[in-house]
Symmetry: C2
Subunit: 450 residues, 2 copies
C-alpha cells in the first residue's frame, strides 16, 4: 500500500521553545522525544507495513526534503511532491499527490502533524479495503480522550457512516483523527470542491460524506494528538510517555522503577543514545554493584543494584519511543540481564564470605544462582512452545504475589545493601525463585496440555 | 476430514512370537513398541488432525472393538462397521464403510497393518483435496527404501497419474503405500468390480487409474512398512527406532548417548512407563550424581551423570514412539534438566571444597552455574522472538565445535569423575558455557536484525 503525508502547511501557531531562538524548524521537523513529527509519521507507517510514501511539501519544503532524503534511513521509500499553492488549503496538497501515486489501489492519507501511536493506523488498516468510490476515516468516539475537542474537526455518524463533518458541529459523535484510507474518489471530490472555491480536505470529505461514501472507523483506545501549538506538543509528549509502562509490569516496576525510568527516558530520548547502549550501561552499573558487594560496600552496592534495575527499563522505553525496538535488542538485553543477576549474587556471596568465612553462604549463593534464571527460562520456554507470551498474572496463581520478577529481586538486593542482611536476602532469593520455578511445573500443566 | 481404516482381514502370515503361545492377538492388535498396529494408525491420524474414524472389522472384530472402545482414550471418535464377507477381499471392506461416512467430502483411507511415520500422512494431506471422481494414492518412488519390493503393489506413473497398478508389474515407477485420499468415486468403482467378481481394493483403484482418475502423491523420504509377517514387523520396529535420533543431536549424543538410549527406549516402550516418569528418573539419577560428587565418590558420581545424560534422551524417544509427545513434557523436561545441571555443578564444587577447602573453587563453581543455563536461555529466547528454532550448526560459527550442549557438558562431568579433575572440569564448563553465550551475542545479531 502507498501512503501520502501532507507536510505543506506553515503551522505558525507551533513555536514551542523555538519562538525565542533565531532559528525554528518548519512544523513537520518539530522535535518530539528525539524524532521530528514527520519522522514519527514515517516510522509509524513503516511499522504498519507501509513503505512507499509520498510527501507533499510546500512551506519550507526543501528543509524537509533535505532532512528525510530518500527515506532509506527510515526503512521506507520516499517521493516528494511540491504544492506551491499550499496557502490555499490542504485539499490542494492532497490533489497535488495524485499524479505521484504508482497504483490505483486504495492508499493511506496522513497529516504530518498528527501524532498517533502506531496502533491507531493498525485499527484503520484492519478495517479492510474501501470499495471504489469510498473513503474510510479514522474516528475517535471517546471524547474524554480527545485533546481540545473544542478545536477538533467533528463528525456526525449514523450506522457507521459519516453524515456530516466540520468544526463546531453540535451535536456530534466523534472526532476526525486525520488518518484516511482513500480511493481515487477523494481526488474527484476535491477537484469539484476546488472548482467551487473550497480548498480544504474537509470540504472533499464532506462532499463524499453527503453521498454516503465515508465510513467511520473506530480507533478504540489508541492515543493521538493534533499538534497545532506548544501545549498540544507537550500533551503529545505526555501521552507518548504515559504509554510506556507495560500492563505486565511487576509491583516494584509500577510503584518505583517506572516513576524514575519514564521521565529519564523522556529526557534521554532527545540524545543520540541507542537502546543497546543503555542495556550495556545498565549491565555495567550491575557489575559495579556486584564489585561493591564483593568489597563489602553494602550500601553503595545496594543502591547501584536498584539503579541498574531502573536503567533496565530505559532501554526498552527509548526503543519504543524512537521506533528502535528490535528482536536483537530484546535478545541482547535478556542475556545481559541474566549475567547481571548472576554477578550480583556472586558478589553478595563472595563479599559476605570475605567478611565472615562461613562456607554455607556459598551454598545459599549457589541455590540463588540456580534459581535466578528460572523465571525467564520458564517464560521463554512457554512462549517458544506455544507462540504466546507467558502471563504470570493468569498462570501463576498465588505465586504471582512473590516479588520474584527482576524488579522485585533487585529491590530485595537493594534492601540487602541498605540493611546489611546479605545472607537473609540470598536465602530469600534462593527460596523464592526456586519455589516459583517448581510451582510453575505444576501450574503450567493445564495450559500446555491438550 | 473423516478416515476409514480397514482392519477386517486375518493376516495369517503374522504370528511373531505369538506362534508358540496358546493365544495370539488378531493382526491389527499385534503389539509394536508398546502400541498395537491399529493404535499406531489411529494416533497417526490424530496427529494429522483427523479425529472421525470408521474402522471396518471382520475377522475377530469384537476383540478389536473391545480394545479400542469409542476412541476417546486416543483423542479420536471411532465408529465400527462389520464386514462379514471379509474373506472375499478388502474392496468389500471399503464398500462396507460407505454408509457410515457422515459427509460427502473426501476422506482418508488407510490399512491397519501399514506402519508409517505420521509425516507420510502429512505429505498426502498436503497434496490438497481430490476433485470429484478422483483418488490420490500415496506412492513411494524410492525403491531403495521400500521393504520387500518384490511383494509390494507396484504402480506405473505418467505425468503424476497412476496408469497401472498391481503386484509383479515391470517396469514400474513406485510402490502403493496403502494410504489414499478418496472421493465417492472409489465406491462406484469397487461396486462395479465386485459385480465382475473382483473384490480387491486394488481392482477398484486400477479401474479408476485406467480412466486417468488416480493421482500419485510422492511421500518423499517418509518411512513405512507393510507389516505382513514377522520379519516385516521386526523391520517396522527397526525403522521406528532408527527415526528417533534428531538431526540436531550433538556429537556425544550421536556417538554415545543415542546408541544406548535408542535400544533402551525400544525395550521400555512395551512397558507402561510415561515419558515424564523417565524425566523424573533421569533427574533423580542426576541428583544421585550430585550427592556422589558432594561426598567425594568421584567415579560413581561421574558414571551416574553420564547415565542421567543418556536417560535424558529416553523420555523424548518414548514420547515419540508412543505418540505421547506433549508441550508440557517438553517444558517439564527442560526445567528438570536445568535443576539437574545446577545440582551436579553444586555437588562437584561442594565435594571438592570439602576435601581441599580452597574458596576459589566456589568462584569456579559460581561461574559454571551462571553459564550453565545460558545455552538453553539463548535458544528459547531466539525461538520465542522468531518462532523458529535456534540452529546451532547454522548460527554458532566455529563455536559449534564446543561440547557446550548438555550431552557434551555431562560427558565432561563424567570425565571429571573418572579422572578426579574436578576443578579443571568446573573451569572448563564455566569457560565454555560463557564463551558460547557471549559469542552468541555477536553471532545471533544478523539473524535477529532486519
Amino acid at each position: 500500500m502507498e501512503a501520502i503525508i501532507i507536510a505543506a502547511g506553515e503551522g505558525s501557531r507551533l513555536r514551542p521553545e523555538g519562538a525565542r531562538r533565531a532559528y525554528h524548524p518548519p512544523k513537520p521537523l518539530t522535535p518530539l522525544l528525539g524524532l521530528a513529527l514527520i519522522e514519527r509519521a514515517l516510522l509509524s507507517l513503516r511499522d504498519n507495513g507501509i513503505r512507499d510514501i509520498i510527501i507533499v511539501i510546500g512551506h519550507r519544503g526543501e528543509e524537509i526534503r533535505e532532512r528525510l532524503g530518500d527515506g532509506r534511513r527510515y526503512g521506507v521509500r520516499l517521493r516528494f511532491v511540491e504544492n506551491r499553492r499550499w496557502r490555499q488549503g490542504n485539499g490542494g496538497s492532497v490533489l497535488a499527490a495524485r499524479k505521484a501515486l504508482a497504483g490505483d489501489s486504495p492508499f493511506l492519507l496522513a497529516m504530518s502533524d498528527h501524532v498517533a501511536e502506531p496502533g491507531l493506523l493498525g485499527r484503520l488498516l484492519a478495517a479492510g479495503q474501501p470499495r471504489p468510490g469510498e473513503v474510510y476515516l479514522a474516528v475517535d468516539f471517546d471524547r474524554q480522550k480527545v485533546y481540545q475537542p473544542e478545536e477538533a474537526t467533528r463528525v456526525v455518524v449514523e450506522a457507521g457512516e459519516v453524515r456530516e463533518i466540520g468544526k463546531g458541529l453540535a451535536p456530534y459523535h466523534g472526532v476526525d483523527c486525520g488518518f484516511f484510507l482513500c480511493t481515487d474518489a477523494i481526488f474527484d471530490a476535491l477537484a469539484e470542491e476546488a472548482a467551487a472555491g473550497r480548498h480544504a480536505l474537509t470540504d472533499g470529505i464532506r462532499a463524499l460524506a453527503r453521498l454516503g461514501r465515508v465510513k467511520a472507523i473506530d480507533i478504540g483506545d489508541a492515543q493521538w494528538v493534533d499538534v497545532d501549538d506548544a501545549p498540544a506538543l507537550r500533551e503529545a509528549r505526555r501521552r507518548l510517555l504515559r504509554g510506556l509502562p507495560s500492563a505486565r509490569d511487576g509491583l516494584i516496576s509500577r510503584l518505583v522503577n517506572r516513576r524514575v525510568s519514564v521521565p529519564l527516558s523522556g529526557a534521554l530520548a532527545a540524545l543520540p543514545i541507542s537502546p543497546n547502549a543503555v542495556s550495556v550501561t545498565s549491565f555495567l552499573v550491575a557489575v559495579a554493584a556486584a564489585l561493591g558487594f564483593a568489597q563489602g560496600s553494602w550500601l553503595a552496592a545496594g543502591l547501584l543494584a536498584q539503579a541498574a534495575s531502573i536503567l533496565d527499563g530505559v532501554d526498552g522505553e527509548i526503543a519504543r519511543l524512537k521506533f528502535q525496538a528490535s528482536r536483537y535488542g530484546a535478545y541482547f538485553d535478556a542475556i545481559l540481564d541474566r549475567y547481571a543477576d548472576g554477578l550480583i549474587i556472586l558478589g553478595m556471596t563472595y563479599g559476605w564470605y570475605a567478611t565472615s568465612p562461613e562456607p554455607w553462604v556459598w551454598l545459599l549463593g549457589a541455590l540463588a544462582l540456580i534459581g535466578s534464571p528460572m523465571s525467564m527460562l520458564a517464560k521463554e520456554k512457554f512462549q517458544a512452545l506455544t507462540g504466546s507470551p507467558y502471563l504470570p498474572e493468569r498462570f501463576d496463581g498465588h505465586l504471582r504475589y512473590l516479588p520474584a520478577n527482576r524488579d522485585g529481586r533487585l529491590f530485595l538486593v537493594m534492601l540487602a545493601g541498605l540493611t546489611g542482611q546479605i545472607p537473609a536476602v540470598l536465602g530469600l532469593l534462593a527460596l523464592m525463585s526456586n519455589v516459583l520455578a517448581l510451582g510453575r511445573l505444576w501450574l503450567v500443566r493445564r495450559h500446555l496440555e491438550g
